[in-house]
């Protein structure tokens, strides 16, 4: 492939619009003259008229259209949204409700994965039977946290003051709970997993909570 030739060809093709391609420099038997003639023939073809009642028939189908609940739900999820992930910007600049929602949903996803890992992990270790109560409940706690965070995230999509207030309360509860969870789990040092859970709960929960609170504050600035 010759790049210069390709560029020349693309240039000619672009100029060939069926209206004013210059064939003066082309040889009489040049393909470009013939291409121009074909392009002109196509451009000069009158546009076909659609049947007169076509619009009315289209509208009749649209009026009769009843989407299934599943489709409505799918479309609501697929609706384009402005989602960006700039955690540092979220700490400084105003963020939209949709961005804030994204952060909450991501936290929800994290806890959902954590919950599943803990559930499987505790069973494999045999700890689900011997572990003290608070440690045994960790998978369920993670899954409930995931559900709450995702629900707040979805509610934030509405981008309203009430949703923000809910998110603020939810985040404060989450932050407090992350601290308490770390403390309770650390009190049960008799099994090794409790130490790991205590660390995880505090190391992940506290910074995440502060980040979400800051994001909510920056989101709320738009209503100030």
């Amino acid at each position: 492939m010759d790049p210069v030739k390709d560029r020349e060809l693309e240039k000619n093709i672009e100029a060939l619009d069926g209206k004013g391609f210059s064939t003066e420099t082309c040889e009489p038997e040049s393909h470009w003259r013939k291409f121009d003639a074909i392009a002109r023939m196509m451009c000069e073809e009158p546009a076909p008229e659609p049947p007169e009642d076509l619009g009315e028939r289209v509208m009749a189908r649209i009026r009769a259209h009843q989407p299934s609940l599943w489709k409505v739900f799918g479309e609501a999820l697929l609706r384009p949204r402005e989602v960006s992930f700039h955690p540092l910007n979220a700490l400084r600049a105003p963020v939209s409700g949709q961005e804030c929602s994204f952060y909450f949903i991501m936290v929800g996803v994290f806890y959902a994965i954590l919950g599943v890992i803990l559930m499987v992990g505790l069973q494999r270790l045999g700890a689900s039977l011997v572990a003290p109560g608070w440690v045994r409940w960790q998978p369920q706690i993670a899954l409930v946290t995931a559900g709450c965070m995702s629900a707040i995230g979805l509610y934030l999509l509405k981008d309203g003051k009430l949703a923000l207030r809910m998110a603020r309360v939810g985040t404060l509860v989450y932050l407090g709970f992350a601290l308490l969870n770390g403390i309770f789990a650390s009190l049960e040092w008799d099994i090794p997993v409790s130490a790991a859970l205590s660390l995880l709960s505090t190391l992940v929960g506290v910074p995440t909570g502060f980040f979400l609170i800051r994001a909510i504050q920056n989101c709320g600035k738009r209503y100030a």
């Binding site: 619009d17 291409f35 003639a37 392009a39 546009a47 076909p48 659609p50 619009g55 189908r61």
Partner: protein, 187 residues
């Protein structure tokens, strides 16, 4: 139609006012019908596909991004409907060689000659592969620029241009084989 009007109409439709969609149907039924007819060569199919395209556009209107132009988006939806139809029907072009292209008023008064030319061209088009056919139709019948064609078909700019080149070359060869070239391309 101005973009701001379209945005307002789309907003109304998304807000539940289905009747507002009639404005978009009226504005674009001609180009969509024309696209479907050129791609299939059948008035009945073009009629069905136009209806299907608008219905699909209505169903997926929520996915339309504010600020974009509606027309290329509608063309993309229509082209997907047409491609699906052609894939399902496995249309055999030779059987429908432009027999159904409707008569249209020939501005030069040479109606019979114009109709014959149109029929032949439609026949050649239908013998091309679907991806090549669609770029030729969008470029020369619908008058779209290459950037719009690339956006509608999902091709890169240079791929769209190469398809146009290949399509024209194939039509030129077919015309020469038919002896049609001697009459028309020399004029």
């Amino acid at each position: 139609m101005k973009q701001i009007d379209e945005a307002e109409i789309i907003g109304r439709v998304l807000g539940g006012d289905r009747e507002a969609f009639a404005v978009l149907v009226d504005a674009y039924k001609g180009p969509v019908f024309s696209l479907a007819l050129r791609m299939t060569g059948s008035i009945q199919d073009a009629d069905d596909l136009t209806q299907e395209s608008f219905l699909r556009a209505f169903q997926f209107l929520g996915r339309f991004r504010a600020g974009e132009r509606f027309f290329p988006w509608l063309y993309t939806v229509s082209l997907n409907v047409i491609r699906n139809h052609l894939r399902k029907a496995k249309a055999l072009p030779e059987e429908t060689v432009g027999n159904e292209v409707p008569d249209a008023t020939d501005p030069r008064g040479d109606a019979a000659n114009g109709r014959e030319k149109g029929r032949r061209l439609q026949g050649y088009l239908l013998r091309l592969s679907v991806p090549v056919r669609e770029v030729l139709v969008l470029r020369f019948y619908e008058g779209l620029g290459f950037e719009d064609i690339a956006a509608v078909t999902g091709d890169s700019l240079s791929s769209a241009k190469m398809k146009v080149y290949r399509g024209l070359e194939k039509i030129r060869v077919m015309m020469e084989e038919d002896g049609f070239a001697d009459d028309e391309t020399r004029s």
